[in-house]
Symmetry: C2
Subunit: 459 residues, 2 copies
């Protein structure tokens, strides 16, 4: 029955691009309270967008933080059901002066659409909605039951999502989750992501004199908070690149030799990667390859550090305070709270002379996740990718963090298949974020094929 | 002949306060190019002010940077001549959010006038002008010949003043210099400052990947520029507080035991000082007291350090670049250029893996200065202070830097007497800078007595 959704999809190409440009014009920066109302606007925009794509029951559900957009179509009794996950919030656009165009007025340059959030996650998230629109338009029904859960706090670590999932598990129940967040490893070949790292975050302050001091009058006689901060930060790693925090690696599971062999067999051109990043040397934990360092080993990184005068010229102060933001990426079986405890203990064991260390409360935490390699949703995803690209996808991992997948597993027993059509080089979290427009189009077709094949193999 | 200048001075108290409020409302921040025109306005304001104080020949002389205001009255042939030094530029007001009132709308609170520059150096600099006005008004002439040199680049290290002095030495010639910049050591007793430290400044960057990277995708496999910066900064000191740069102390002259004994005999309440600063412990180079660390020992301090995300919430980046501003305070016979070379060599000898160190050109440099203890200008200054306060001034040093005094000495052979009525606790270079209004009034009388006695003892 019905028309050809793939022909219809071609006719959608212009529309998905203009929809994405509109969606990306909303600065839904969840990290910045100043953008709170923009986040609400984005939630309403995507809810309205879902409602026009087909006969979905759409709800905007409150949370203690940003709302969750939920949609459901259950018109295929007996067919499998999937829960599509995505997020409508975006990273802050800083540093603004590095953008070649306005981060919130997405523009196309050479086959790429540039704008904050186009790749993470607004573009990939529009894919399944446009796919559903095409199938509804041509067949009046979807081959599987589809629910959507679109959150607005992914970029701040989904602090309220776990409680939301626990409270709404009946509403959310499905055979498994398909995440529109995540990314293809690279643009040259399709890939299936089987794991992501967890996250533990903390923010610290070194608090010194009650006010900034003149570095002439007082310099040399009082601990400089910046020197103390540098000492603390430097103490977190050994000079050869290991994390120096006691017990940091205690709970890291050994990855089986066979899996390490698979990673080392992947086509990875290290000199080209170095060139792409613009560094003269890659550097990290001894005993592991670059891909292993990114995928199967935990890290500790300072993401921001500040204190004193940063403006033009000079200002000779001993700053009253210095600050740093730290995140760790975690692998099985590390627990965020335990890692934070260990880092805090490490810092407090090194009290600088005469100044104090303060640790700010931080709820940004997520456990690592790994889907079983033989999961049916993963297998069908691979098949859909192969149909679209004509190539067998390679199996990779994601060094980043998608907090929700481990939560779906722990709270509801649902596994998550990553099925995103962004690519990891698209500068999400950096200036000039972009998405390849061709990937968006591939994604449309892949989602349709995924649902179609799933209905067959799971029947 | 003539009237009583001291009675006249009393009548000037309101006027000097309103003049200072007007002068301090001009945001003449030399460090910030955005304030360039304000610096010009301040130069014209003070030139106009000098012209109204008496029959001075006033000139605004160009320099490659900010103009120099020069004034001269030579109506006392045979009498000694002095060159009064001061500066009309001010420090940046950052951090603005720490000010209790607008930094550029000076307001009185509890006998103190609060505003950027009121203590450093606009208030002290108005003192000799108001003193001259009083003496001219009551006696038609000054007892000594007086010249003024008021510069606009002190807060950025007087980069153009040395060449200016060399080119204008005939114009500037005098028996010695009296500096209206500097500060009393404390408010509880008068003091004579006999030395100040020099300054060497540099700014560094750690330059890593060509753009900010996602700390999930890339974390663990690339040197984090903030880790590299922390390591470099931490390497600059030993854990016990010495500067770890090779050769840093090579040219430091030993201070004679008698002078160290004088310093240790000064009334200095270390617990009270700790309390005043708000630190639980003082800290610095082993083997030296707090006052020695501030006055006769060199230092290296980071005045600003930054990189990555500093905003609310978190942004998981590996920043492409990190920066730091560093200054050293120098003592005889350290040379700024030599110290910079040594610090740069130290840094470049520690190349971080895969990222590079850049050193930015920096002209902020000054040599240390010391006036001979038996200089007649110093002796008369002490006498004037004693007449005003009824107490014999104590002999102290200044941990800060007044670049011009060493230049006057080296280029023109003139010594400099520090004769300022600010106090070192008045938060210059910090939020809520203030000057004690009573100090301003004491200063008026002291300048008149200084010139008067100088005419007698040097005749």
């Amino acid at each position: 029955m019905g028309g050809d959704p793939f022909a219809f999809l071609i006719s959608q190409h212009e529309r998905i691009l203009s929809d994405l440009i509109a969606f990306a014009s909303i600065p839904s920066v969840s990290a910045d309270p100043a953008h709170r109302s923009d986040v609400e606007v984005a939630a309403r925009w995507i809810a309205g967008h879902l409602a026009t794509a087909g006969p979905f029951a759409v709800q905007i559900l409150p949370s203690p933080g940003n709302p969750v957009v939920f949609a459901e179509w259950s018109g295929a009794p007996g067919a499998p059901s999937v829960l599509v996950y995505g997020h409508y919030d975006v990273q802050p656009p800083d540093p603004l002066d590095k953008w070649l165009s306005d981060p919130f007025r997405a523009v196309e340059r050479s086959g790429r659409l540039h704008g904050r959030g186009v790749s993470d996650d607004k573009g990939p998230l529009l894919n399944p909605i446009a796919a559903a629109r095409a199938v509804f338009a041509t067949n009046s029904r979807l081959p599987v039951n589809v629910k959507f859960i679109l959150e607005g706090e992914e970029e701040i670590g989904s602090p309220n999502l776990e409680a939301f999932i626990a409270e709404n598990s009946a509403l959310l129940a499905a055979d498994f989750v398909i995440s529109a967040d995540g990314a293809m490893w690279r643009s040259s070949e399709p890939s299936l992501t089987i794991a992501c790292r967890g996250l533990a975050a903390l923010e610290i302050r070194v608090v010194g004199p009650r006010k900034d001091l003149h570095s002439g009058s007082c310099g040399g006689a009082v601990m400089n908070t910046l020197h103390a901060m540098a000492h603390l930060v430097d103490s977190l790693h050994t000079s050869d690149g290991r994390v120096a925090v006691e017990g940091f690696y205690d709970d890291v599971l050994d990855v089986p030799p066979a899996e390490r062999a698979e990673i080392s067999a992947l086509p990875f051109d290290e000199p080209a990667y170095r060139e792409e990043l613009g560094v003269s040397e890659l550097f990290g934990e001894p005993g592991f390859s670059t891909l292993e360092r990114q995928w199967i080993r935990p890290t500790l990184d300072v993401n921001g550090m500040w204190g004193g005068y940063e403006g033009p010229g000079s200002k000779t102060v001993l700053p009253a305070e210095a600050g740093a933001k730290i995140t760790c990426r975690l692998v099985p079986d590390q627990i965020p709270e335990d890692i934070i405890d260990k880092v805090v203990r490490h810092l407090l064991a090194r009290p600088p002379h005469g100044v104090s260390i303060e640790v700010l409360p931080e709820t940004h935490a997520a456990r690592p996740y790994r889907i079983p390699s033989d999961h049916i949703g993963l297998r069908v995803a691979g098949s859909a990718l192969e149909q679209v690209s004509g190539r067998k996808p390679i199996v990779v991992r994601n060094g980043g963090t998608i907090p929700v997948c481990e939560v779906f597993k722990r709270v509801m027993g649902m596994e998550t298949v990553f099925f995103s059509f962004s690519t990891s080089d698209e500068d999400f979290h950096a200036p000039n974020e972009f998405i390849r427009i061709s990937s968006l189009h591939d994604g449309l077709e892949a989602w349709v094929r995924y649902w179609k094949e799933l209905a067959v193999v799971m029947r």
